[in-house]
Amino acid sequence: LSSPKGTNITLASTTSTENSGLLGYLLPIFKGDSGIGVRVVAVGTGQAMRMAMKGDADVVLVHHRPSEELFVEEGYGVERISVMHNDFIIVGPASDPAGIKGVTDVAAALGRIRSSRAAFVSRGDDSGTHKRELSLWATLGFQPGDDDRDWYRESGSGQGATLNVASEMDAYCLSDRASWVTFGNKRGLELLVEGDPLLLNPYSVILVNPQKYPHIKAPEGQQFIDWLVSERGQQLIAAFRVEGQQLFFPDALDPTEE
């Protein structure tokens, strides 16, 4: 392809794609195909968008649709392109005091946790996952408040740290599947609830608008995006496995998704 050897672009991404190893798997292949290196800065969704808005990244890879749309609307991003999805799950202690194991309706499961006042750890960090969790509670008409302090805990941290807290406290928590599968300190925690369509977690990729910031490496960034959504990129995403599990499901080639 056309780019000179040694070009680098900066990708602001969420921690799940980095920590799961997906990017570590994809990027060397992309570099081989294109000669373009991708430098990943893995932070929370909020921080990633913020960085991009200041022109410090060329491409963002995130998973919170409303802020993505706002980002494009305000002219910071060129276009929001769906890449893949995985899903959220609820994990909790094997003893399962709220009795949610196997429940497929996520709202029902959360309702049981709430009524049993079993410990629940929220990320509390305005991340995509945190916002999703709040919107799930909202389907029950519930908004955690001061009265819930005894069981509803906010860890104010990333997914890994929150899982560490949950495993220690025997608490439930919402996680994305990729972070959970690759998490190394599960101890008593188990995956309890999955499969509700409400738990779908779509990732999209956006090129930062070169009209806003002329220094953005738009051609290379676009080349990366094109590669990700190409047949080759999508097949590679589907082929990525951790402990035999597929963590991310390509969306770009599936016309029903977007």
Binding site: G44, G46, R50, D126, R153, S155, G156, V165
Partner: protein, 234 residues
């Protein structure tokens, strides 16, 4: 650069409003870090003095180790204490994990080598001067330590303040052993980290400004009280 003016406005706003959430976080920060520093100093001062005044085989090694322990990464200290206090850990039954006590312990471990190493250096110089006198009048080790620490108290303040600086500014250890739990173990630095990850840089910086103001207040108080009277070295 409106983040900067934003930050000052946020800081002023938080201070003027006396935001109760802020107050809670500030007080916990002070409680944890001051406790940690005092606890560490109680043991590190005599230890530093002891190492300075007692020649024993391997002292050079101990000194190097003490200096090297100033490089302990907070995250690692946090992890070790997390594992010790974890329910399945050896001290799990104490139930201290995710409590301010755990945070005090973690900061204490971080601060201890700093105070000990700097104390050793300071007392070493004083001891060089006092050594023959102290031995001549037959002072025992404890009496020597007491004399050296007392006469060096003004200059040891800087060592203690360096320890306080490390403690109050530190985030890696307290976030792991405290869990940054709202209304329970959330301190200034963990709040700053949280606001940063939210992308709310103005709030993060504003809190940072308040933290520095608090540090200035603590330092002023300590230097004024401790360095006063006839031992002014400041």
């Amino acid at each position: 650069m409106n983040e900067f003016s934003n930050a000052f406005r946020t800081a002023a706003h938080l201070l003027v409003e006396m935001d109760p959430g802020l107050l809670e976080v500030v007080l916990l920060s002070l409680r944890v870090s001051l406790s940690a520093v005092i606890l560490a100093a109680v043991f590190a001062l005599p230890l530093g003095a002891f190492v300075a005044l007692t020649p024993f085989p391997g002292r050079r090694g101990v000194v190097i180790l003490m200096n090297a322990m100033m490089s302990l990464p907070p995250v690692v200290v946090g992890l070790v204490i997390y594992l010790l206090l974890s329910r399945t850990g050896p001290l799990g039954t104490t139930g201290l994990l995710f409590t301010p006590t755990a945070m005090i312990i973690a900061q204490c471990v971080l601060v201890f080598p700093i105070i000990a190493a700097l104390t050793r250096q300071t007392v070493f110089d004083l001891h060089e001067e006092y050594d023959e006198y102290l031995r001549s009048v037959g002072a025992g080790t404890r009496q020597k330590i007491a004399t050296l620490l007392w006469d060096g108290r003004a200059r040891l303040l800087t060592a203690i303040l360096a320890g306080f600086g490390r403690a109050i500014a530190e985030v890696g250890a307290v976030i792991i052993v405290g869990g940054n739990i709202l209304h329970s173990t959330r301190v200034m630095t963990t709040t700053i980290a949280l606001e940063t990850s939210k992308g709310d840089l103005g709030m993060a910086l504003g809190l940072g400004i308040i933290l520095v103001l608090i540090a200035v207040a603590v330092n002023t108080a300590v230097v004024t009280i401790g360095g006063g009277a006839n031992q002014r070295t400041v």
